[in-house]
Symmetry: none
Subunit: 117 residues, 2 copies
Amino acid sequence: MAGVTPINLVEHALLVSIQDDITDTEILELQDRLSTKISENRIDGVILDISALEIVDTFVGRVIAQLAGISRLLAADTYVVGMRPTVAVTLVELGMYLPEIRTALSLTHALAQLRRV
Amino acid sequence: MAGVTPINLVEHALLVSIQDDITDTEILELQDRLSTKISENRIDGVILDISALEIVDTFVGRVIAQLAGISRLLAADTYVVGMRPTVAVTLVELGMYLPEIRTALSLTHALAQLRRV
């Protein structure tokens, strides 16, 4: 079994680093932990770092979409950082345009955009 | 086989001139090249010049939508320039409203809007 997905507080945002080998069970656990943390800490934004992902499939695409959906319902904006070019191409080819999320070039850019909100 | 679709750097944007006779293979190659260029050069915007297109079908419509989707996931805004009136009419008639893209009258207008972001 792989480790627990880390969730770190950075300014008023939660940084979630999605691992390459995330499993179904871990995602359910991550959704619970993330949603609790968002409401407890009155978080403005969630930053999903997906730089560890070299390949995506519909499963991972759905994970990203679901985490973004949960965050939005709890009034937090979601930014995705560290997306590789091939990952973007694959997601779009799979028909997953992820309209709920905003992307940022880096963590610094995402934090700068969250400060502006 | 037709030539390679040119991608040119203009200010902080990439100018892509879509050719009339673009094929499936060329599109895959274009997606790869464009996505790599966006992330390598930290591009703010992508400008799709479609003035060469006199007729569109769902295939070309999907190409435009996919290129815009990839750019957005990589944090670049997409502007379409040079759209002919008949092309706009056809796209809407095909039900392709292309919500992801912004249109600009000309390259000059698109660059002006990108500078403002």
